[in-house]
């Protein structure tokens, strides 16, 4: 059943149940992936998935919802009926409506349509990549986590008011995570991920090189003393932290009382005037971009922090109405609509600010800790309290030389971190989760084993 037929079926079933107001979101996907183990195919996967979420409004304008993978005529009728029953329990304290922007034009990024390359080619490419990575250094003994995948999917949003929008897309991903071992030393592990619209877009050689270089660079390690350090966050690490505390910009989190911000925080100074942060789901480098959100609102670029001050929050339809603004294209589709960022872009604002410009990760010869990658975010972040304590991969730099840190955590408070940014490097780097330059922060606590 295609998306037009689904809309017709829902429309018919709604009429039968006397449901006058409804909307739905659906996704259909075909995914293919391979994993290898020392030259042999390990697991080859293919999946066909379909998910339909229907919302209905009852006569009291309360919303009910149901999600199903059964997109048959009977499945759709059952889902609509269950959603109708669930609407008796709709949230009486906060109403939900259609997004006022659900019929506005959307910007769909243009890219060349990709066709599946097929499992055999995926397998061949991954085998070659694994062999090259294993040969790249004698201490790399295995690539325990690896995968090459391609996905083809369609997303749809429609409502009883005549809104209908859909888009189709493809995406491919390669990850290589190597493990190196040397005698009388602990094993070390690191990796790389690359995304593309299709397998042919993925720079496999750079993924191999990056995984190899990162893994090898941690072979000579040393414990670090527990104390406060000058820190340089890699673009990836800084984006990880910002995403982990994105509830600061999230109107849903503010209303739920789990954000560090409140309704009056617009204009609050969080950081140096040199810091700008945007959410830009349609950024040209964002492979995972979607032109509309779960409620059909178009995706757009939104400034979250301007010159160190909170500029905007991200919204769904209902939070926007409460805050007397418009939805921003960050909503999910649920009984209680979630709100989340798309693609964070961090940049240095224009102007001459009081930054320590001598701090550059490529040539600064003083002592500092370089945090390459933060781990275990789900365990070590307390977003509602603002605190974090996270293990990381990184190096201690001293007088121009660097040594990998054996095992350590960095701990602190997000507001303290943002206030103590002492430099924002000029060059931005694209990662899989956004864009950011290297960011320097003074006086963060590191716990080590030395």
């Amino acid at each position: 059943m295609d998306s037009k037929e689904i809309t017709t079926q829902i429309s018919k079933a709604a009429e039968f149940l006397n449901v006058k107001k409804w909307d739905y979101g659906a996704s259909f996907s075909n995914d293919y992936s391979v994993q290898v183990d020392k030259g042999d195919a390990k697991q080859l996967k293919a999946s066909q998935k379909q998910v339909l979420t229907i919302r209905v409004w009852n006569e009291s304008n309360l919303v009910g919802i149901t999600t199903t993978s059964d997109i048959s005529e009977s499945g759709i009728k059952k889902a609509l009926n269950q959603a109708n029953i669930a609407s008796d329990f709709g949230n009486k304290n906060e109403s939900t409506e259609f997004s006022p922007l659900a019929k506005d034009p959307i910007k769909v990024k243009e890219f060349k349509k990709k066709n599946p390359v097929g499992i055999k080619k995926l397998l061949m490419l991954l085998r070659e990549a694994e062999v090259k990575l294993l040969k790249s250094h004698e201490s790399i003994k295995s690539v325990p986590y690896n995968g090459l995948s391609e996905s083809f999917f369609e997303r749809v949003y429609a409502n009883s008011d005549g809104a209908f929008r859909s888009f189709t897309k493809s995406q491919a991903a390669l990850y290589l995570y190597a493990r190196a071992e040397e005698k009388n030393k602990k094993p070390r592990s690191s990796g790389s991920v690359k995304l593309g619209y299709g397998v042919d877009d993925i720079d496999i050689e750079s993924c191999i090189k990056e995984a190899s270089n990162k893994t090898i660079s941690h072979l000579n390690y040393s414990p670090i003393k527990t104390e406060k350090y000058l820190i340089c966050f890699s673009p990836e690490a800084f984006l990880t932290i910002i995403n982990a505390f994105s509830s600061m910009f999230n109107a849903r989190s503010i209303l739920d009382g789990v954000s560090l911000s409140n309704k009056n925080s617009i204009g609050e100074k969080l950081s140096t005037e040199a810091l700008n942060i945007f959410d830009d789901g349609l950024h040209e480098k964002n492979i995972s971009s979607s032109p509309f959100d779960g409620e059909g609102t178009p995706t757009k670029r939104l400034c979250l922090i301007n010159k160190g001050k909170i500029k905007n929050f991200i919204h769904s339809e209902s939070t926007a109405r409460i805050f007397k603004t418009i939805p921003t294209g960050h909503a999910g589709l649920g009984s209680k609509v979630s709100v989340s960022p798309d693609w964070i872009v961090v940049e240095k604002s224009t102007g001459d600010y009081d930054l320590k410009k001598s701090l550059n990760h490529l040539n600064y010869d003083g002592e500092f800790v370089y945090i390459e990658e933060l781990n275990a975010i789900h365990a070590g972040v307390r977003a509602s309290q603002g605190s974090f304590s996270l293990p990381f991969d990184g190096w201690l730099y001293k007088k121009g030389t660097k040594i990998s840190i054996e095992s350590a955590t960095v701990a602190g408070d997000i507001k303290y971190l943002l206030k103590n940014i002492v430099n924002i490097e000029s060059n931005q780097e694209v990662t899989t989760s956004g864009v950011s330059p290297h960011i320097w922060v003074d006086q963060l606590s590191i716990t080590g084993d030395a």
């Binding site: 993978s69 669930a86 009984s335 275990a376 701990a411 084993d449």
Partner: protein, 474 residues
């Protein structure tokens, strides 16, 4: 006549599907598969969220799908689909065969048809009518969130409930033919307390499997008191000073340290990847002699219990470590094929779209001889971890997990609460340092995310003492 024809061409839950399943398996074997497994699932789930004094979300969902796995030599191909028609399942088999590039039509094993149906669902078909209604759940959640309103420092109150009812059919070319109904219910309470610049969280989760009435007996008052007390104790807590120190980990969810630090490394998937330091340590000492550790799927009502695993095997009680000696790995079908470790009834998956993998069930350290007070009084300067948050283990065995509620130990006594602690270490180094086990074993439900998705598990232990561990703080 027409009806029976339609039925024979589509999987029907609650009916005999033997002929159709055999036809599909014969089809795959005929194309050269060594082994075929068909996992079919029908789900009926619901979740309810209460915030402050309102029900803010009721989310029912239902669905069906199939996962087909084919082995040729030690390789496997897995295809999942929502299409449960004969045509759809045959197409999935063909796709898996094609992916594996099978040209040799000789099979390692022959298929002699399915064995007698093992139907574990017979006594469970009424569960869906016995579980509490949305009305009943909503009413109890609202009473629960109301009882969290104990003073004006509590700024956020939440109660959540979820029910997962999963009906499964498992058939494979070794003759396995089983069906089951699984029911999991969880209920959780969360608060945020705030006073000026101070903030704290309190949360507890309760869960059961196969007990439709359990939610009705849940003591929400006791749970609310516990959550409130925890958040108040931590509200003005100082940050812990980082360093190496002895710790006492509380029972119940304190067992997450064993789950993360050691349990994952005893799954055969880790042997397959070469990422466990315990690979060649069978019958060798890997932990302190006070440690005996068990993984089982048979404790009645426990969150990780199963009548049959997702590969059609009844779960066993596996003694993983006996008096510090490694005795067994947690194994599934692929694990047995690729590592030689016998299956333990631990082949598990989140749903039909994942291939089963060796996963923990109810995993715990057995009780010892000491009281909690014995453990605490043995420490001059250390940390008592009363409530643990989540954790993870990396590719080199390094683990970390957050302490939600911690207290300093000074001169053998509990003193002030501290926050922001993270326990960091490596399994190989920490297991020999568990020097004392208490006599108060208790289990706690949780969710474990790994290669085959998120599965229900139980963690557990008595109070235990770790002689020295790195505590991350400020």
């Amino acid at each position: 006549m027409l009806t029976s024809q339609i039925k024979s061409n589509e999987i029907e839950f609650g009916s005999c599907n033997k002929d159709l399943l055999e036809e599909i398996i014969f089809y795959g074997i005929g194309l050269g598969a060594d082994f075929i497994e068909i996992f079919i699932e029908n789900t009926d789930n619901a979740s309810v969220l209460a915030e402050e004094d309102y029900i803010t979300s009721v989310s029912p969902s239902f669905g069906r799908g199939a996962g087909i796995r084919i082995f040729k030599d030690k390789r496997d191909g897995f295809v999942s689909t929502n299409d449960l028609s004969k045509h759809g399942l045959m197409r999935s088999v063909s796709q898996a065969i094609e992916m594996l590039d099978i040209t040799d039509k000789r099979n390692r094993e022959v298929f002699n048809g399915l064995n007698k149906h093992r139907d574990y669902s017979l006594s469970k078909k009424t569960w869906i009518n016995e579980v509490p209604s949305i009305h009943e759940i909503s009413a109890k959640l609202l009473v629960s969130t109301k009882s969290l309103k104990k003073n004006n420092k509590i700024i956020t109150r939440k109660g959540s409930y979820s029910r997962n009812l999963q009906e499964v059919i498992i058939a494979s070319s070794d003759g396995t033919y089983a069906s089951d109904i699984r029911l999991h219910q969880t209920v959780g309470l969360n608060v945020i307390a705030s006073d000026a610049q101070y903030r704290s969280n309190g949360s507890r989760r309760f869960g059961s499997s196969g007990m439709p009435n359990e939610f009705r007996y849940w003591d929400h008052e006791k749970a609310a008191n516990d959550v409130f007390e925890s958040s108040m104790n931590m509200l003005y807590a100082d940050y812990v000073d980082a360093g190496q120190m002895p710790v006492v980990l509380a029972n119940k969810f304190g067992g997450v340290i064993f789950h993360e630090a050691c349990g994952h490394l005893l799954e055969t998937t880790q042997i397959e990847r070469g990422t466990t330091p315990f690979e060649n340590k069978l019958n060798e000492k890997i932990a302190h002699e006070s440690v005996t550790a068990i993984d089982e799927g048979i404790s009645e009502g426990s969150f990780g219990s199963l009548s049959v695993d997702d590969e059609g095997m009844e779960p066993e009680k596996s003694v993983l470590i006996k008096d510090g000696i490694l005795k067994k790995f947690i194994s599934d079908r692929a694990g047995e094929l690729r590592t030689g470790h016998k299956r333990t009834g631990s082949g598990r998956r989140q749903n039909y779209s994942f291939a089963a993998a060796s996963r923990m069930r109810n995993t715990y350290i057995a009780k010892g001889e000491y009281s909690k007070e014995d453990l605490i009084s043995s420490i001059n300067d250390g940390l008592y971890c009363k409530s643990m948050g989540g954790g993870s283990v990396g590719a080199t065995g390094q683990f970390n997990f957050a302490v939600e509620e911690g207290y300093l130990i000074k001169n053998g006594k509990l003193t002030k609460p501290v926050k922001g602690a993270t326990l960091i270490g490596e399994a190989k180094e920490v297991m020999p340092k568990i020097s004392m086990c208490g006599n108060d074993l208790e289990l706690a439900p949780g969710f474990c995310g790994s290669i085959s998705g998120s599965v229900n598990v139980t963690v557990g232990q008595p109070h235990i003492k770790v002689d020295s561990i790195t505590v991350g703080g400020r």
